[in-house]
């Protein structure tokens, strides 16, 4: 009991520290963000006041990716057969169910929440602990939800674009959302309170590997097709987030207006 209490206090303490440094960061950004007003028409519809720094971190990430992450992801693809990789992805998605469910509720999307719950129930029970996406075969498709999207549904804009070391592209809103998602996750608290934090690390590692493997082709295509890879990634990031917020409703596709030049 004592150990449990200590752990809980420790976790609560580290949580407080995260939130505090996050708040300090927020006020810093709020102050510096006002100093320069970038023209969003040059920056893919998102403000990028820290572009210089972002580009530097982006270059660092590219280097780290080329020598560490990408080779590991390629090895993973080479060694592990496709059905097994799909199983890993399904299991990781299944573990995200509480976060997805919670965010659907917060977004007022009861239909989405029901789907998330049904998926988790079917895939955990029939799909052998989430390895098989049985619900997906039945037409209840996976929907990615996170607190960044919830904030967007609540009408909060991206804020500045940011490239985080190793984590990659994001926005102030979406990175803040990641912190809330972590705190929202019952698995996070349970593993922490039962001294099994190593499973959280393992899960994060598996998540990074699985995502990188999934993106191997897309990213190399984008890189080859782009003149300015950073600007392309920024554009794709913003568009992808907008599509996720709109739950890929085809009626919201092409939200941008292409003018009629001959009228």
């Amino acid at each position: 009991m004592n150990i449990l209490g200590v752990t809980r206090n420790f976790v609560a303490g580290s949580q407080k520290r995260i939130i505090r440094s996050f708040l300090v960061g927020f006020s810093l950004i709020a102050v510096t963000g006002c100093a320069s007003a970038p023209d969003p028409s040059f920056t893919g519809g998102i403000s990028d006041p820290f572009e210089g720094m972002n580009r530097a971190v982006f270059a660092f990430n590219e280097g780290a990716d080329a020598i560490v992450l990408k080779p590991i992801a390629e090895g993973y693809r080479f060694i592990v057969p496709s059905p097994a990789r799909t199983g890993v992805r399904n299991a990781l998605r299944n573990l995200k169910s509480p976060i997805i469910f919670g965010n659907e509720i917060l977004q007022g999307d009861l239909d989405g929440a029901g789907k998330a719950f049904t998926r988790a129930a079917i895939n955990s029970l029939v799909g052998v602990g989430g390895l098989f996406d049985v619900a997906g075969y039945e037409g209840i498709d996976y929907e990615e939800e996170d607190f960044g999207q919830t904030l967007a549904v609540w009408g909060i804009g991206h804020g500045p674009f940011m490239i985080a070391p190793i984590m990659g592209p994001g926005s102030f809103r979406d990175f803040s959302g990641k912190i809330v998602d972590t705190v929202m996750d019952p698995l996070y608290w349970w593993l922490n309170n039962t001294d099994q934090e190593e499973w959280l690390t393992a899960r994060t590692g598996a998540q990074v590997l699985s995502t990188r493997e999934e993106l191997l082709d897309v990213l190399s295509e984008l890189k080859m097709g782009a003149i300015d890879y950073y600007a392309t990634i920024r554009s794709v990031y913003v568009q992808n987030r907008a599509a996720l917020v709109a739950d890929q409703d085809p009626n919201d596709a092409f939200f941008n207006d292409i003018p009629d030049y001959e009228e």
């Binding site: 029901g114 049904t118 295509e221 003149i227 950073y230 890929q248 009626n251 092409f254 292409i258």
Partner: protein, 211 residues
């Protein structure tokens, strides 16, 4: 407290499962409402057939496939609208001869970018899922690219934006999983133009390099 939360959480969950199952049984069915939407669907079906005809033809060399693809672009895509949009505000500061060279280089770049993906075609299935009118002269046709017969894999949603140009339809944008090609291109070019301080020559040099 925790227990109370868990119990109410589960109760809520079960209530919602009922709702979800009800929702899942109501399968949405899209059928084109009018002749124009049907025409837009047919246009994309025709485009896909022409594309698949050369993609699946192993006898053609890469150069021949590229030539076929360029023909398809010239006849079915509005390269001028796409290129003008991609250049954004810089378009009006550019001379006619620079515009002509830019459009030519731009189309070459598009051919080269897609040519790299020709060999990715391994019998994937193409399915049109619906069409709708957008604005005065535009149509959006949604489609799915499905894994080859008997294989499992992700479905990729592709939306085509068509514009009626003097009675004939032309593609002005393709959006893959919500990522619009025309927007991405514009943001890429905007960054290049910014780096070149608004000088089109800087972008043209980059385009010449990539071709």
């Amino acid at each position: 407290m925790t227990r109370f939360f868990l119990i109410s959480f589960s109760a809520l969950c079960f209530a919602l499962t009922g709702l979800a199952l009800q929702g899942a049984t109501e399968k949405a069915h899209a059928s084109p409402a009018d002749a124009h939407e049907k025409a837009a669907e047919d246009f994309i079906a025709q485009l896909a057939n022409e594309g698949l005809a050369f993609l699946a033809n192993d006898k053609l060399s890469l150069t021949q496939k590229k030539a076929r693809f360029k023909k398809l672009l010239d006849s079915k895509f509005d390269i001028k609208t796409i290129g003008q949009f991609a250049l954004g505000i810089h378009w009006r500061n550019v001379s006619d001869s620079e515009k002509a060279e830019y459009l030519e280089l731009f189309e070459k770049m598009v051919v080269n970018v897609y040519a790299r993906r020709f060999n990715e075609y391994q019998g994937q299935k193409f399915e049109i899922t619906g069409a709708s009118k957008r604005g005065k002269r535009d149509y959006s046709v949604s489609s799915l690219i499905l894994p080859p017969q008997g294989q499992k894999g992700p479905k990729v949603s592709v939306d085509w934006r068509l514009r009626n140009k003097g009675g004939s339809l032309k593609v002005i944008d393709i959006s893959v999983e919500g990522i619009s090609m025309i927007m991405t291109q514009r943001d890429d070019f905007a960054a290049v133009m910014q780096k070149g301080q608004g000088d089109i020559e800087f972008l043209l040099t980059e385009l010449r390099k990539s071709n």
